[in-house]
């Protein structure tokens, strides 16, 4: 093959796959940028993972839809469902997690987690041995197993910020989501991290994460296209005609005979 043709439609056609390969390059650069973001004390505390491919993204979208209906608070039902639709229209998903916020706090007494000049708020609420946190009990009663070291968690913002910066520098549309991160973490993306953010990325003429109409989980373009496929098949069976011998644009009679005259 000596040609690389790029077209965003139809989804997952060879031309779209070529575009997705380009987006994957940017995803890799985003992860690199995140790794060099400013971190508290210069200590690494963020990990990253990239998901791509139709099946991989479908699994993430389905987990988000499960969360929307079964676990998320009511006010997040629609956002989670809408963002699941956005996952299906994305070229890739970049996950960023912080693996220290839960297990190895900064121990600086900053005050962010509990408003105290020591780290007592955190250590009084987690299982630990002389300040060494026990990460082995992973059961959760809430979406995130808090409390977390908020100074560490703050670092996750920098990782996400730098990744977003690289995306926009390359004119790749991107959107960081709570829903995507939660679903990804449940599916063992960035599995060392209690808190994970999922960044949707896509290259398209229309930013798939902006200008969202109501009931987007049902009114998105994928559903519209499927609606067209469903209806067009039925519709064509009404105005059918034997086109070899009959042209409905002509007025009347045996059209074949008149043609011969």
């Amino acid at each position: 093959m000596s040609r690389i043709h790029v077209n965003e439609w139809p989804l997952y056609s060879p031309s779209d796959q070529n575009k997705k390969e380009n987006v994957l390059l940017v995803a890799r650069l985003m992860v690199n940028a995140a790794m060099t973001a400013p971190f508290t004390g210069g200590v690494q505390d963020c990990e990253a993972e990239i998901a791509h491919g139709q099946m991989e993204l479908e699994k993430i979208a389905r987990e988000m839809e499960r969360l929307a209906h079964q676990e998320a608070p009511k006010k997040l039902n629609k956002p989670f469902l809408y963002e699941a639709a956005m996952v299906r229209e994305s070229d890739a998903v970049v996950f960023m997690g912080n693996f220290r916020a839960r297990n190895t706090p900064m121990d600086a007494g900053c005050g962010l987690c509990g408003g105290e000049p020591d780290c007592s708020f955190f250590y009084e609420r987690v299982s630990h041995l002389n300040g060494v946190v026990d990460p082995t009990d992973r059961k959760r009663s809430t979406a995130i197993n808090g409390p977390l070291c908020m100074l560490r968690a703050h670092d996750l913002g920098y990782a996400v910020g730098s990744a977003m910066w690289i995306a926009s520098t390359h004119f790749v549309d991107a959107k960081p989501c709570y829903s995507v991160g939660l679903a990804g973490r449940n599916l063992d993306f960035c599995m060392n991290s209690e808190v994970v953010v999922g960044i949707l990325i896509a290259v398209a003429a229309k930013n798939p994460y902006a200008d969202i109409p109501p009931e987007y989980h049902l009114t998105n373009m994928t559903n519209m296209v499927d609606g067209l496929r469903k209806i067009a098949v039925i519709t064509r069976q009404v105005p059918n005609h034997p086109y070899m011998v009959f042209d409905p644009t002509r007025k009347s009679g045996d059209q074949d005979e008149k043609e011969e005259e």
């Binding site: 973001a37 509990g114 808090g146 409390p147 968690a153 959107k175």
Partner: protein, 279 residues
Amino acid sequence: MAVYEGYEAANEHMLIVAKACAAAAAKAPTLTGKLGLRMEILTGEDLEPMIQVLETLGKTSAFQLHDATAYRAYKNDGVLPPVLLLGADLTQPPLWNCGGCGFPTCGEYLKYVSKNKGVGIGAYGPSCLWKVIDLGIACDHACACAAQHRAEARIMFSMGAVSMFLGRLEGCSFLLGLPIGPVGQNRWFDRMPWTKVINYEQRMMTQLSGAPNLFFAFSGGGKPILKTKPRWWEEPTFMKVEKDEAFMEAMARGQADVYEKIMKYRGVLDDEDVPDKKD
């Protein structure tokens, strides 16, 4: 027609870059959509109270002394950079009930905050996890903007904290300070002004207390020698765990000095009085 001295012009340009950084932070994406980012750019004499409080903090803590030394030196050299302050009230959650803060619901969290909101060495809390992350994204965009302008910058907890205690951006629960400039190479890393503040022995002692393992001899005997000199086996030294009353007292005294200084400045700010720079 005009001729500008290059470094002078470049240092003046840092204020423009600081404004660009503010614009970048304002455009930063968020997860919650309701960060409520607030910003302020401090320059020149308006930074003097912050530098003084950092110096007072520096009497008992190396990292504040590290920053105070640099700010003071840059001010003395006439290249004190503008500082972009970024902050937000991180105690207003988006009501997602995620549990990240340690409370089962945002309602429980808010109930706790209304009664127990307190302050640590640099921030009020408890904070909402997602607001903390959103502020990080905004600060990162400011940093990235500075980097893309090839400007020296470093996001600082210390400058944010003292600015908050001195009353800047009132209502924010967490502030960070981003000095933009002075121009040059590594002005906030491997700092020249710092070379004169601590000596070789102090530097090595810092390494030793930070990573004693590196200097331990054979530990099989149960009490390894801590190698603190070239002929470490002669008159060996050992690690000992103990309380340090004198150090704790000095810390408490230092803390009191800091609060006194902050109160003085905040009182001064209210009275429109001339600050008393003597200490």
